[in-house]
């Protein structure tokens, strides 16, 4: 109640006591508030004397004028610190200096957390926001930033594709969309970088954020709930990831070097038959093919995989002046994949600069990042053909044109993967530069008002070229006889943002008020030229020229996009007890139809810090208990440009219609929904933050419900529509879930120098597609097949069907015999359950059966220090994620050896005895729950020539426990294991130096 009293006093002082004040002699108190252990200034601390109050500036300074002469008590308080009071004596007309040092009590609460268009103390946050700083990041071979936070944040799933530098996906609280992108929005040093997985361009299969050097990142903040993210409006439905890079600061070393080398080995390979087993199978099931068999015993996987070596070097120079700071970094990485031919080479450069001007009223920060990545890809089909190629066959054949052995079975035969590696070319380059200048001006005439201007750019270029000479087996059997393609994509994204921020000086109204209002203008221009030709007149030019060709298909797309926004937010904090935040964003996007150009995205969140109430305040062990609730609407507009525009597509020269002796180019109209607009997600979030024993144990629990409506779907259009399907806002989907995170300093470093911190995260998500029907009265619920698989043309294994999670597997129910073996029989009724009892097994007997998304995701991070030694490990577990083993289903049938040339078989055939492929059997849908030791790190800190130094070693993917039979239960999001890039176990050793 005391705080209310203070506030009331402040209010009274403002109203009727104010005139009296002028009649008394007054003085001024000024000073600086610091953290007594770090000596760093504390910003935003509340300093009170009598009825006068001030907040400390960025440098921790405060000034209170008009203090009535006499002696009084000066109080300084800051969330997460022990409140301090000190008696002061002020004489009329005097200025007294009082510096105070506060002792941290619950440090976590006072940490500055980056939020959209601002920053807040952790303790003031009303939404579900988690910040991970560099000391907690994952270590080892990490090329793109998202892997730094894998398993660190509840509800945040980071999925990789196993290639070095391969594309990463982040799912925050499940997928909200089917057609639009599900990746979160990224904001890098305050600059929004566009929609999709990190904005910008990437070479397909590699991550666009490879262009951000992970070594340069200071914090990654994830805005998980909609109320925190809603300030980013139409881009916020998938959550927002804020990346802050390191800046020069006092106490930082002038030079830093960090370097590491790594070695990766293959973790698991698909279980194929060996030469003897293969020969037996061919003899038994395709005697006609026996003459084709050779006498070799070739392990094709050994020939196409390798130990992937890597090296990473980073050099940083930084400095701090009186009013400026700067940091310059250089990075170089060279990493080979575990499949021959995969390489990522990257050079990065970063410059951060900060300058204060006009008596610190103007603060300028600038940032430029540049990266050049050189990628080599394992040409398509190497992994798949290594699984298909007969182990009895030799690698070389001096009699063949290429010197490599190839089967004779034409289109019905796999390709020699070693020959593909030797003859094919597939490589790309990605160049990207991101930069911005941010100015902040504290307006002199109104204390607490700041004007921000943020100007930024994101320019990227992605090139890709591939070449398959006509002599390749695949080119011969397809009749393409040589293919060449090249794309040179360029994209520029420009951002201008201006916003005002007003922090009301204390005492004006009860509590603290912080208001932000602004405008944002973003435009993007992209040019996407593409050359493709086949039936080349010569192989001699390789990728360096464009020879004549039988078929030439060239394309150019030029695209523009605009996003214009107004936004505002009000944060209110009443005595650290009641905290509220209200925001709204109004977005106008060129992707919405012209009649739907503008959308509004409001948010409100409330928090009650119960631990500040008198009935709990005296519980010494309870350092924090905050109840939170929020509700917000966010949008998703990460879909293609111009979906609203009715256009005509020109056919190319190979799709012309014959009119007599003339071939006429075609023009095709495209049916569109001109009213297309954003997908809208309404989220309700409730949770609490709990801190015990001065935050030695702290935890966060959240429950959420996300309902997405206006889901953009490509759905079949009724007969008579201009196109067979139309992209429109039609569906709805829900995600509900629970998240828990628990931090515990089990041992704290004191005299024994032993410290042990554990972070546990757990999250549960349930996804359900609610509706995709255009008309309520339809006789049938719409179902849309998805999830293409290998093994047959156009085969799919998944479905979108209302009432089920998205991407549910859609399969026949396999029957098993008494011994548990799946039944094979020429009569399908003996093999599968006739679900609709019509006496026929056909596709109407499929049923939805599990889905690829994990139901529970667990993470556990451990940090231990013993003197100079540090040690950490990260465990991750998923349950309820199901995977379709497509290698087993497509190659687990004896019919595969009866082809023109026999294909190698998956060892599952030894168990099932399937004579023909049973692609749609639920036998191949497997529970891929797992427990993995993601990371083990050991480091040792020492002093060398009086400079600090640390040496470290790490193992990634140390082991995985799973019942899944394929190569990897995790890679990819779609749950279809079709000759994936295998997972590697990576060993890294390195050191960091300061001088």
């Amino acid at each position: 109640m005391r705080r209310v009293h203070y506030a009331m006093c402040a209010l009274l002082a403002l109203t009727w006591t104010a005139p009296l004040v002028a009649q008394q002699p007054t003085g001024t108190i000024r000073g600086r508030i610091t953290d007594n252990s770090t000596q760093q200034p504390i910003t935003g601390a509340t300093v009170t004397v009598g009825s006068r109050t001030a907040l400390t500036s960025n440098e921790g300074r405060y000034t209170i004028s008009g203090v009535p002469a006499g002696s009084d008590l000066l109080r300084a308080r800051m969330i997460g610190y022990v409140q301090v009071s000190q008696p002061v004596m002020v004489a009329g007309g005097d200025t007294v200096t009082v510096d105070l040092a506060l002792t941290a009590q619950a440090v976590g609460l006072s940490a500055i957390v980056v939020t959209g268009y601002g920053a807040q103390r952790a303790g003031d946050i009303t939404g579900a926001v988690t910040q991970v700083s560099d000391s907690q990041f994952n270590t080892g071979r990490i090329i793109a930033p998202a892997l730094l936070i894998q398993s660190k944040i509840p509800g945040v799933q980071v999925v990789d594709n196993n290639e070095p530098g391969g594309g990463l996906s982040i799912r925050i609280r499940g997928a909200t969309s089917v057609t639009a992108d599900n990746e979160p929005m990224y904001v890098i040093d305050g600059l929004p970088v566009g929609t999709g997985a990190g904005g910008g361009l990437s070479v397909s299969g590699r991550d666009p954020l490879n262009t951000i050097n992970p070594e340069e990142i200071e914090t990654i903040t994830v805005l998980r709930d909609a109320s925190s993210a809603a300030i980013y409006g139409a881009n916020a439905a998938n959550g927002v990831v804020l990346i802050q890079t390191k800046r020069g600061h006092r106490g930082a070393p002038q030079f830093e070097y960090t370097g590491s080398v790594s070695s990766s080995v293959i973790d698991r390979r698909p279980d194929m038959l060996n030469a003897a087993q293969f020969r037996t199978a061919v003899q038994a099931y395709a005697p006609v093919n026996v003459p084709q068999l050779g006498n070799a015993s070739t392990n094709w996987f050994d020939l196409v995989t390798q130990t992937g070596m890597g090296a990473d070097h980073n050099l940083v120079v930084s400095g701090v002046g009186d009013a400026s700071n700067w940091r310059l970094s250089l990075g170089y990485l060279n990493q080979d994949g575990i499949v021959v031919g995969t390489t990522t080479k990257r050079t990065t450069f970063g410059l951060n600069y900060g300058q204060r001007l006009f008596k610190d009223r103007f603060e300028l920060t600038g940032s430029v990042k540049f990266a050049h990545a050189d990628y080599r890809f394992t040409p398509g089909g190497v992994v798949g053909n290594a699984a298909q190629m007969g182990p009895t066959q030799p690698v070389f054949d001096t009699a063949s044109g290429t010197g490599y052995y190839e089967w004779s079975g034409g289109i019905q035969s796999p390709d020699n993967p070693v020959a593909i590696l030797a003859l094919g070319t597939d490589r790309g380059t990605n160049v990207r530069s991101i930069g911005n200048v941010h100015g902040q001006y504290s307006v002199p005439f109104l204390e607490g008002l700041r004007l921000h201007v943020n100007l930024g750019y994101d320019q990227s270029r992605a090139d890709r070229e591939s070449f398959s000479p006509s002599v390749m087996h695949s080119e011969q059997k397809s009749g393409y006889l040589g293919e060449f393609s090249r794309s040179n994509d360029e994209q520029t994204n420009q951002v201008l943002e201006t916003y005002l921020n007003y922090t009301a000086p204390p005492g004006v109204i009860p509590g603290n008020v912080d208001v932000t209002a602004g405008y944002s203008y973003q435009k993007e221009h992209g040019e996407y030229p593409f050359i493709y030709e086949r039936s080349l007149t010569t192989d001699l030019l390789g990728t360096n020229g464009i020879p004549g060709a039988g078929t030439v298909q060239n394309r150019l797309f030029v695209e523009d996009y605009k996003l214009i926004s107004f936004f505002g937010r009000l944060n209110y904090n009443y005595a650290d007890r009641f905290i509220a935040s209200v925001s709204v964003r109004r977005d106008g996007s060129s992707r919405f139809g012209p009649d739907n150009a503008w959308g509004n995205f409001p948010a409100v969140s409330l928090a009650w810090r119960v631990s500040q109430e008198s009935f709990l305040r005296n519980l010494g062990w309870l350092s924090d208990l905050k109840l939170r609730v929020s509700r917000a609407t966010t949008g998703n507009q990460a879909f293609g440009n111009y979906l609203w525009a009715a256009t005509y597509a020109l056919g190319d020269d190979q799709t012309r219609a014959q009119f007599g002796n003339e071939f006429v180019t075609t023009l095709r109209p495209t049916g569109v929904d001109p009213n297309i607009s954003w997908e809208e997600t309404r989220t309700t979030n409730g949770g609490f933050d709990l801190g015990l024993f001065s935050q030695r144990v702290s935890g966060t629990v959240d429950f959420y419900s996300k309902k997405t409506s206006g889901l953009i779907f490509r759905i079949p259009a009724p007969a008579g529509s201009l196109s067979s399907a139309i992209t429109t806002n039609i569906g709805s989907m829900s995600n509900t879930g629970f998240e828990l995170s628990l931090d515990s300093k089990i041992l704290e470093a004191r005299a024994r120098k032993l410290a042990w911190t554990v972070t546990l995260t757990a999250s549960h998500n349930t996804n359900k597609l609610t509706s995709i029907n255009a008309y309520a009265g339809s006789a049938q619920a719409q179902q849309i097949l998805t999830g293409g698989i290998a093994g047959g043309v156009g085969s799919t294994i998944q479905v979108f069907i209302p009432g089920q999670p998205i991407n549910s597997f859609f399969v026949y129910q396999q029957k098993y015999d008494a011994s548990g073996k799946p039944i094979y029989n020429a009569d399908p009724l003996q093999m599968y359950v006739d679900r609709n009892n019509d006496g026929v097994i056909n596709v109407d007997d499929r049923r939805p059966f599990h889905d690829p998304a994990p139901k529970w995701v667990f993470g556990m991070s451990n940090y231990v220090t013993v003197g100079h030694l540090d040690f950490g490990f990260v465990l991750r577990a998923y349950t309820g994620n199901w995977v379709y083993n497509n290698v087993a289903s497509s190659q687990g049938a004896y019919s595969e050896v009866t082809r023109g040339s026999p294909y190698n078989l998956h060892a599952s055939v030894l168990k099932t005895g399937f004579l023909t492929q049973q692609l749609l059997s639920d036998y191949y849908v497997e529970d891929a729950s797992f427990l993995r030791m993601d990371n083990i790190t050991v480091g040792y800190a020492l002093t060398y020539h009086r400079q600090p130094m640390r040496i470290f070693g790490a193992v990634q993917s140390a082991f995985t426990l799973t019942g899944y039979s394929g190569v990897d239960p995790t890679s990819g999001l779609n749950g279809i294991d079709n000759n994936r890039y295998p997972r590697s176990r990576t060993f890294t050793g390195g050191l960091s130096l300061q001088f």
């Binding site: 201006t498 203008y521 996007s589 012209p594 111009y642 525009a645 219609a657 079949p716 006789a779 049938q780």
Partner: protein, 517 residues
Amino acid sequence: MAFLFLTVGACTDTLVQPKSTISEGNVFADVGSYKKFLAKIYAGLAVTGQQGGAGQPDIDPAVFPDEGFSNYVRLLWNLNELPTDEAAVAWGGDLSIQELNTALWAANNAFVKGMYYRVYFQVALANEFLRQSEDAKLAERGQNDPGFRAEIAQYRAEARFLRALSYWHGLDFFGNIPLVTGPLITPPQQATKQEIFDYIVSELNAIMNDLPPHNASTYGRANKWAAHMLLANVYLNAQVYTGQEHWSDGMAEVTAVINSNDYSLAPVWRNNFLADNNTSPEIIFPVPSDGKNTQAYGNTTFLIHAACGGSMSPTVYGLAAGGCWWGNRLKPEAYNNYDGANDTARTSFFVVTGQVPMPNLTNFTDGVAAPKFANVTSTGAPGSDGTFPDTDFPMFRLADAYLMYVELNLRGGGGDATTALNYLNAIRQRGYGNTNGNFAQLPPLDSILAERGRELLWEAHRRVDLIRFGKFTGNTYVWSWKGGPQAGTSLDVKYNLYPLPESELSANPNLHQNPGY
């Protein structure tokens, strides 16, 4: 700062027009666009999208997952041949294609769905073309040149022909279907078979005289005789569609085609199915394929590649080295329907790669290969491309008209019995190479069904013929794998119609499923 606020005020316009595509607003400013649009409706039969081979598909992957399979002629062929006594496909894992071999398709069968959407893709294109080329629209655009207007009138007739053709296929496969003749505003009502039948008849009669003439410069386009031929087909099967026979109407149409004397039987039967079949005097309405200019994984690309497999050499058929797809073979009944020793022109290309019976549907060497179509010319030269043949698909040809004449005469549609016998013997004589196979007098109707099977094998007529003769369902005629078992069994009458795709029932609440599904 002032500059920034000016920027703020000026920049609330979010509109960005597409640049690299042609917009609806300006496409017809170019008078050449009408012809290109019409070309697309024709190309809708031959190719699958806007990119050679595959790419930018016409039928959306959300509806049909594989572009190559989505070709009009390929679907037409699969639906009219695979469930009959003529053909079976060996592919096991490809969508739900095995369901067609036995005629036990599911309501969700992908190929049934694909055909439905192909039919309505054509209908919608034609509707839009007709809307964009109305007199009022042309006047609005200032396109008033009389010569141009005459050309447009011809194009409009062709668009209406193509729409009627697809409505015939829609009627034949699906029965009661929506009749959409203008732009779609709301989901349309379901029309009766009678309404669709009447519409096709009235449309064809209305356009007959506006279609282009028959000459070399209009090859590939629909002329008057194609319209008569289409009308003849609709009348021939009228009893199936409406319960009302139109034998004499059919006879009138088919007689008009024959008596035009614009067509004659190609002296060599096989030349109708080779890479230079555009020179055949017999073909009334082709779906052209061209190795360089008209490429897709449907049409004759499918017919030629899929018929090759086992020990067959693809180069013999004008295909690249890996060109066999190991797909289609004859069911034993079709093979045994021939007098193989004597009917040489129509059987000499058959290849027994394994055995005649088909104990295993997914084994290509069970059943006889029938590479009737080939990408080599009548002189034996390969086509212009090893993947995409130059061979055109004969949708209507004179021999079919002859056999229709014979059948209609036997059914009481009029005409002259001697002429009918002559037509029948002309066809037999061309097959046998002599008169040994000739009939002395008109045989009974069932022999005409058998003759149609021999003459028009794998030309996508078989299911229609079997239904007209009452033999597709039931047990009066049972062939291998009919209704499930290898020996064949009775087939439920519901299979005379394909089911409406379930996706269409979901998208249009006005529709009712065909009985039994």
